[in-house]
Amino acid sequence: MSTVESSTLEIRDLHVTVETEQGTKEILRGVTLTINSGETHAIMGPNGSGKSTLAYSIAGHPKYTITSGTVTLNGEDVLEMSVDERARAGLFLAMQYPVEVPGVTVSNFLRTAKTAIDGEAPKLRTWVKDLKQSMSDLKMDAAVAERGVNEGFSGGEKKRHEILQMELLKPKIAILDETDSGLDVDALRIVSEGVNRAKESTGAGVLLITHYTRILRYIKPDFVHVFVDGKIAEEGGPELADRLEAEGYDRFQSANATS
């Protein structure tokens, strides 16, 4: 199905700080990770371990300062790019807390984004058809298209809207930050199927950030990385997720505290 060339996102020894009221705080302390097209990587870690910071840093959020390390997409320096250039290069971030943009309709927003990513306006007929199809696959009410972006959306609607964007914008590498949080079982299944469809049709690499193993029943990871205190504490295959399910993060956190 897919004729997309293979892509690689390479994160090398990434250190990131944020300005807090108490001064500069280092949150990422040397993250190294490589994601190739077609692969699914799960990053699992406790609250506050820096998972969203990693996601935002790759997307270029201005709040975070990269103090050292590199991020490249197919060899291109991502850290040199503006936020929108990164998206046009093929990176996508489904946000943990999607932002409301009042008065900008979903349909206008999606068409503007699609045009920006593709470098040309989509053909109207296929676009309308694709949009309708993707919305109905995600069990989204068609009327949502005429509402303001995330304006008054429920938590579940916001997450579906994020995955709708992934399906339509067809990124090379998608980072999904806690897309599972706040979803009931039905919604979780619908959203996961959306991710799998998008992956299937585009061959995208996926970095799935989650706190719980629940979503991994629907989206099968090839690799699991345990994220603790701003870096990867352990890596393995899908079996690592099962261990985390049984044992929790305590083992890593106490190990970290004594090291």
Binding site: A59, G60, H61, P62, S82, V83, D84, R86, A87, R88, F92, L93, M95, P98, V99, E100, V101, P102, G103, V104, N108, F109, T112, A113, A116, I117, G148, V149, Q165, L169
Partner: protein, 394 residues
């Protein structure tokens, strides 16, 4: 809903940069009903800037409009749908008509100095399919205007007034909407940067009439519009919509006063403004008075300001006075915020470049009002004008 007699005033002012906030501590010492109205110039001393109604306004730059000096009328081009007529009225006829009187120094001088009163008549039961259009152009001189729009009973009409060019202009506009009429008045201020414009717009809403007054202020050095709505009978509805965009050095002031005296009337006021550039200053004052007789009143007013750059200042003062417990609803909201960088990030993270993202956010901010203007030529022009304002700083 029933409220006890209540008098609330909220002042909100947000400024970035070096300006200080003079508004926050203010408490009104009199009811809005007690302000002077008169045809006698001597009843209104030249404002010092310390008066409640002038405290935000740079009065020293407005002296020409406070002086008893005659000017030259603005150039007027009009396009009148069939049935609409233009005539003039003498000052004596006007003063005998019972129309609302001037309420400040600039308005009383406009009434005294304007050569005659221009009267636009829309006959009873006429249903205009095209707007009445008036383009008023300044040619750099002092000018006074006095206009009366009379819409007959059960007529339906839209009137679009455009102000262009350069002038020191003071005007009085009265809209008398007949019983059961449906009237939209749009006033667009697209003056040159140096223009001064002080206006008093009185809207008299007939029994069961529906009147919308829409102010669009983009150009001019100082623009200050006082819009006053009153009801000639029960069942009337007034909607005051406004959109403004202030750049460096511009002062834009919109004051509204909705005087609910008749029962079972409705009013809704919504103004939104954006500001950018050093010393851009906007003022919005929304006074609503619900008198003892105005049972069943339903009123709401809202003002939102979006500050795009440092150094701009927005003052926002909603003021609700309620003298009866028997009302259907009364509320107000006022908020001034900075441009939200999270919104920008979200849009950019979808590949949209920064300029386009900014434009989307600002258009989105105004969309809820612009989409309700209901006059396509004004809506389209306004969105383009807003885009141009943004490009000017990009």
């Amino acid at each position: 809903m029933s409220l006890l007699a209540d008098k609330t005033q909220q002042t909100q002012s947000v400024s970035q940069g070096s300006h200080t906030d003079s508004a926050a501590a203010f408490v009104p010492d009199q009811s809005r009903a007690e302000r002077t109205t008169s045809y006698a110039v001597s009843d209104f001393p030249v404002p010092s800037g310390r008066e409640e109604e002038w405290r935000f306004t740079p009065v020293d730059r407005l002296q020409a409009l406070f002086a008893e000096t005659s000017g030259t009328p603005l150039r007027r081009e009009e396009s009148l749908p069939e049935g609409v007529t233009v005539s003039t009225l003498s000052k004596d006829e006007w003063q005998g008509s019972g129309a609302p009187k001037p309420a400040d120094r600039a308005a009383v001088i406009a009434a005294a100095q304007a050569e005659a009163i221009t009267v636009l008549d829309v006959p009873a039961e006429a249903e205009l399919t095209e707007p009445v259009r008036l383009v008023l152009t300044g040619e750099g001189a002092l000018a006074h205007g006095h206009t009366l729009v009379r819409v007959g009973n059960f007529a339906k009409a839209t009137i679009v007034l455009r102000h262009e060019g350069d002038a020191q202009y003071s005007e009085l506009l009265t809209v008398v909407a007949g019983d059961g009429s449906d009237v939209t008045v749009v006033t667009v201020q697209e003056w040159a940067d140096s223009a001064l414009h002080l206006g008093q717009h009185d809207v008299v809403v007939g029994r069961d009439a529906k009147v919308r007054h829409i102010a669009v202020t983009l150009g001019g050095g100082i623009v200050r519009l006082n819009t006053n709505a009153s009801y000639a009978g029960p069942g009337g509805s007034f909607e005051g919509l406004g959109v403004y965009f202030a750049d460096a050095g511009q002062h834009q002031e919109h004051r509204l006063f909705v005087d609910h005296e008749a029962p079972h009337c409705h009013s809704n006021v919504e103004y939104k403004g954006a500001l950018q550039g050093e010393t851009a200053h906007t003022v919005w004052v929304g006074d609503v008075l619900i008198r003892a007789a105005a049972e069943g009143t339903d009123t709401y007013e809202l003002n939102r300001n979006l500050i795009l750059t440092d150094g701009a200042r927005a003052d926002s003062v909603p003021n609700l006075e309620i003298e009866t417990g028997e009302i259907a609803g009364a509320g107000h909201a006022s908020a001034t915020g900075r441009f939200d960088d999270q919104q920008l990030f979200y849009l950019q993270a979808r590949g949209i470049d920064e300029d386009t993202a900014r434009r989307l956010v600002v258009r989105g901010f105004f969309a809820s009002i612009v989409g309700r203007i209901g006059v396509p030529e004004v809506e389209e022009h306004l969105m383009e004008a807003i885009d141009r304002e943004l490009e000017a700083t990009a």
